[in-house]
């Protein structure tokens, strides 16, 4: 659905979504990289389990929550990609071990 602009010359960066490599561009937020890669959902909701993609892209709606480098429930629209980054879909509510 989303296409990169033709004059975007930024360097490619490889991140991993649930262990699978995804190509992003330097300076992408994780949320933008997910949308550019055509990912079908980036989390499931805690209340109904419905799939979600990033929405507001500006830190407000919390629809883009993902586990990023081992930290759950991060707002993917507020984190920039880094080569080798490990990203996972946030499945429902965060599990904390007591």
């Amino acid at each position: 659905m989303f296409k990169r602009l033709p004059d975007d010359a930024r360097a490619a960066v490889t991140i991993h979504l649930d262990g699978e490599p995804v190509t992003a561009r330097e300076g992408d937020t994780v949320a933008a990289a997910m949308l550019a890669a055509g990912v079908d959902h980036t989390r499931t909701t805690p209340v109904s389990g419905a799939p979600r993609l990033p929405y507001c892209m500006m830190g407000v709606c919390f629809d883009c929550l993902m586990e990023i480098d081992g930290v759950p429930n991060r707002q993917a629209c507020l984190v920039c990609v880094r080569d080798g980054m490990q990203v996972r879909r946030q499945q429902g509510a965060r599990r904390v071990s007591a």
Partner: protein, 376 residues
């Protein structure tokens, strides 16, 4: 455009107090209009902590303790009734509740308060017990309690609900039962035209033989127009909200509770600073620190929101329910415990307003209890 309306009863205020009473009144067969102020109002109904709480209620006024406990009991039928009527589950849980004691001073004060309330109960039960940290841990087996916790008081009648879903359920139940909810309708004046009360708003008057002030901090301005004194003051509480977590808490603690949708609410601060409903770093820090001392795992849990909310505080902390002596048919109902009292407000209080029949001892809740001056 102005429009005139008539009804059997006007309820001023569409928060938890006003909505619960209004719902009870339509259920009792009255034709009811709710006049709600709008987004500029303080709206404690939208910022509160969601506890159905009994253990600390009514110290120095036993009837209020019994009133709160009866409401907590009624909640067990009220919540399913609302869900049946609206399809909205309000997340009610009545598994008991804990108040944590984090120092010898807190422990001693709680022990003394409980002894006083036990004495005030006389031969009746008080049903609050001091328990050890280990016993509290058994009640919260999924989250480790910090070493700073010396003990807790436990009351089996305590519980909680989701207050925002409750407000929506009350509004939905009210309107689907035929009630008329009017938002953006600040009541400017109330007068009696010889036959009925007339509530004037910028969009026109509403006329009814009964009028109920359930308007929180809006009530002190309106009360004197119908001979009602409403001696309340504002008290701010700040609330912190965390990211959503898998279920950790099997029951609420008075300063930490997990909502039915996974977030934690941290709170229980009190500040007397007027009507400023903002937040402050020092208080949020204190709330967060106490939460982390109580449950060390929270150190790594992310906060997503904070807000301030203005409580309605009466001089003795108990509710005020009054009918005007000079203007019969005008009522006031107010307290900071709108969630706890929602069930009893929808039942007994609405029944009183609809029929005049009072529960035994109900007159104790009149604001006239504050009229007697202490000897100098």
């Amino acid at each position: 455009m102005t429009r005139a309306e008539t009804a059997d009863a006007i309820v001023v205020g569409g928060g938890i107090f006003g909505s619960a009473i209004a719902y009870g009144l339509v259920r009792a067969g009255l034709d009811v209009v709710v006049l709600d102020e709008g987004d500029t109002a303080l709206r404690a109904a939208r910022g509160n902590f969601g506890l159905v709480w009994v253990q600390s209620k009514g110290q120095g006024m036993r009837p209020y303790h019994e009133w709160s406990r009866e409401s907590a009991r009624l909640w067990n039928e009220f919540a399913p009734e609302l869900e049946d009527a609206t399809g909205i589950g309000v997340g009610h849980q009545n598994a008991g509740g804990l108040q944590f004691l984090l120092s010898e001073d807190e422990l001693a004060k709680r022990r003394a308060d409980m002894a006083q309330m036990q004495q005030e109960a006389g031969p009746d039960s008080y049903d609050v017990e001091l328990i050890s940290r280990d016993d509290a841990q058994k009640m919260l087996p999924d989250v480790r309690i910090g070493d700073s916790v010396l003990g807790a008081s436990f009351c089996p009648h305590d519980g909680h609900v989701n207050p925002l879903l409750l407000l929506r359920a009350l509004h939905t139940a009210f309107t689907t039962s035929g009630g008329r909810y009017r938002s953006g309708r600040r009541v400017e004046t109330i007068r009696h035209d010889g036959h009925a009360f007339v509530a004037e708003t910028a969009d026109g008057p509403v006329t009814a033989p009964k009028i109920v002030l359930g308007a929180g901090h809006g009530a002190p301005r309106l009360g004197p127009m119908v001979g009602l004194d409403v001696p309340i003051r504002p008290q701010r509480g700040q609330v912190l909200i965390t990211e959503r977590l898998q279920p950790l808490f099997r029951m609420p603690v008075s300063h930490v509770r997990q909502t039915n949708e996974g977030t934690l609410q941290l709170g229980n601060s009190t500040e007397d600073i007027g009507f400023d409903d903002g937040t402050s770093v020092d208080v949020t820090r204190t709330i967060a620190r106490r939460a982390v001392l109580s449950f060390p795992i929270l150190r790594d849990v992310r906060l997503v929101r904070t807000w301030g909310c203005i409580r309605v505080l009466t001089p003795d902390g108990a509710a005020i329910y009054d009918e005007s002596q000079s203007h019969p048919g005008a009522y006031v109902a107010t307290s900071h415990s709108g969630i706890t009292l929602a069930a009893i407000n929808a039942r007994y209080v609405a029944h009183w307003i609809a029929t005049g029949e009072k529960q035994p001892g109900f007159d104790r809740f009149s604001a006239r209890r504050f009229d007697v001056q202490a000897a100098a």
